[in-house]
């Protein structure tokens, strides 16, 4: 029994340890469990690991690590993975909804036949978990979006969306870190910068963390954005 593990070659410097092929919180929990267990083994030659929705990418130095030995270690670890999501930190992320900060809020409300206040309430009620970080530095893909907000992507992506964009796309929600193109629906914006390379803590959210959104006004956005820029203000977080 290897816990559904598939080991897939990714050249001579990486190995993909796949635990499923769907977006499923239990598969993601097993990926994170495998990541922690492998880190605890502290094998020499592992350069870095990248947990995704359903697999763990292991980058290694082939001159220091025998990939067959790595495979045996992964097989052994995969037999005893935890299906429960890891505790993770909980971040409280302030969001200004609608208006210039969330230019798709009204269209989203019209599309699903509710008021803009209801869209905000549905989005705020979610208990989100960071499933994966990718696409750009610090871009957090969140699971836990209410099915009423599951919408297909825009037919024509926007070439530019601002840093801090709070959006939904498909079954996912996201907190964008830097300015980027996006085909998702923009509901609001946070003054929090998930990525700032010169900050003591350059990247805030980690895979497995939880995120709760908190509504702020457009005025609050301005004052918090000033504090972020001037004082390096960070959002409140709770240890697991």
């Amino acid at each position: 029994m290897n816990g559904g593990l598939r080991l897939l070659a990714a050249g001579d410097t990486a190995l993909t340890a796949e635990l499923g092929d769907t977006v499923d919180p239990r598969i993601n929990a097993r990926v994170l469990s495998l990541d922690r267990a492998l880190a605890a083994e502290a094998l020499p030659g592992i350069v870095e690991t990248v947990p995704t929705y359903r697999s763990l990418q292991i980058h290694f130095d082939p001159d220091r690590l025998d990939v067959e030995a790595l495979g045996r270690t992964l097989e052994a670890l995969a037999a005893k993975l935890d299906d429960e999501p890891p505790p993770g930190r909980t971040w409280r992320v302030p969001v200004a909804y609608g208006g210039e900060h969330g230019i798709d809020l009204e269209a989203t409300a019209a599309r699903i036949g509710v008021s803009t206040e209801e869209v905000i309430a549905i989005h705020l009620a979610g208990d989100y978990r960071v499933y994966m970080i990718g696409f750009q530095p610090g871009f957090a893909y969140l699971g836990g979006l209410d099915s009423r907000l599951h919408l297909p992507r825009r037919e024509v992506p926007r070439l530019k969306t601002p840093a801090g964009t709070i959006s939904v796309g498909g079954i996912q929600a996201a907190v964008a870190s830097i300015e980027a193109p996006s085909g998702w629906h923009l509901l609001g914006r946070t003054p929090v910068r998930a990525f700032d390379p010169v900050r003591a803590e350059p990247l805030l959210f980690g895979v497995g963390d939880r995120i709760r959104f908190e509504r702020i006004s457009a005025d609050d956005y301005v004052s918090l954005a000033t504090r972020v820029a001037d004082e390096g203000w960070l959002p409140p977080r709770e240890a697991p």
Binding site: T13, V50, M132, I133, G134, F135, G138, I178
Partner: protein, 341 residues
């Protein structure tokens, strides 16, 4: 302060080192030199660590002026016609320049990119552990962007001693006739004909090739079922195949995760040589396995070790007339095997 001033960066010049490791789980791309062999050769010639930060130039090498008592520079990765204050300067050796002297590097031959290394290195702060520039996220380098005319690169050393060094050019590693790749991680999402085509057909490097990826033109590779996967990690050299069926090889600036199936992965020993190819070049792939990749890696490391051991004082430029330099530089430049077939 001692600096190397950028008079003209050429079409695109960025600072690159061995790359930004350990941040991919936060979505931060590795970046780093597209051709790690070229970077290593340039650094070896000036006595730097092989993966130390250097200037990666594209298509042509620009013009650089010394504002220090003396600076030792070396250029590698591509073949060049370079001049120092108008006098021809040979390849595959280092050159000491005095204050006010200018190195002008013309069009590159045999490779898209080349590396200009400075003895002692650049006095720039690492960002997330690396000086490498990642243009898409504006990370690294001086301000996250390409080098611009007028910018000054601060140097660690104000003066250099000792002789200029040269390699035995007959030991320079050469590109393989076919780029070796290992199947996977998603080769099972392609038809058998698709996999056979990858290793049998000629592909052409298109103009859509940059530090992130190289889009190839040629026979399409048919998927089995769909062509979207739940995003997973991406290795250097991954050959991903979007819906249109044409492969894209992913390089240093690749995204950390992606949602297209990856049919195969170019082995680490061959990836820097593939990065040298230009739009219009015809390339071919050959299947290998982990043992094959290991042999290729070992052979390349042995070759680099022999090159390093061959370093010896270069002949004085002043003792050579330009005809001799032409014979040693420009003629070598087209015959030393660096050209990719």
């Amino acid at each position: 302060m001692s600096v190397l001033r950028c008079i003209d960066p050429g079409p695109l010049a960025t600072l690159q080192d061995g790359g930004r490791v350990a941040w991919q789980r936060f979505g931060v791309s590795v970046a780093g030199a597209m051709d790690p062999i070229g970077l290593a050769l340039a650094n070896l010639l000036v006595g730097n660590p092989r993966d130390g930060a250097a200037i990666e130039v594209t298509l042509a090498g620009g013009v650089w002026e010394v504002e220090a008592e003396s600076v030792r520079l070396a250029f590698a990765g591509a073949n060049i016609a370079a001049t120092i204050d108008g006098r021809l300067a040979a390849s595959h050796r280092s050159h000491m320049l005095k204050r006010g002297q200018r190195l002008a590097i013309g069009p590159l031959a045999g490779a898209v990119r080349g590396y200009l290394a400075v003895a002692g290195g650049l006095a720039l702060p690492a960002m997330l552990g690396s000086i490498s520039t990642h243009l898409r996220s504006r990370l690294g380098g001086i301000d996250g962007g390409p080098l611009r005319a007028g910018q000054e690169l601060p140097l660690v050393l104000d003066t250099v001693g000792g002789p200029d060094l040269a390699f035995d050019p007959s030991l320079l590693p050469t590109a393989p006739p076919r780029f070796r790749a290992i199947l996977g991680p998603q080769d099972d999402m392609f038809t058998r004909e698709g996999v056979e085509t990858l290793f049998a057909a000629d592909y052409t490097v298109t103009a859509e090739a940059d530090r992130m990826g190289m889009r190839l033109a040629g026979p399409k590779l048919a998927h089995v079922g769909g062509y979207n996967i739940i995003s997973d990690g991406i290795a250097p050299g991954s050959i991903q195949v979007p819906g249109a069926g044409l492969p894209i090889v992913l390089f240093a600036d690749r995204q950390t995760t992606g949602g297209y199936p990856k049919i195969a992965t170019v082995v680490s020993a061959d990836l820097g040589f593939l990065a040298r190819c230009r739009p219009g070049d015809t390339i071919r792939f050959e299947q290998t396995d982990l043992a094959g990749a290991s042999r290729l890696r070992q052979a390349l490391q042995d070759r680099l070790a022999r090159l390093a051991a061959s370093l010896s004082p270069a002949r004085s430029v002043a003792s050579l007339d330009s005809a001799t330099l032409l014979a040693h530089n420009l003629v070598d430049g087209v015959t030393d095997g660096l050209d990719v077939p």
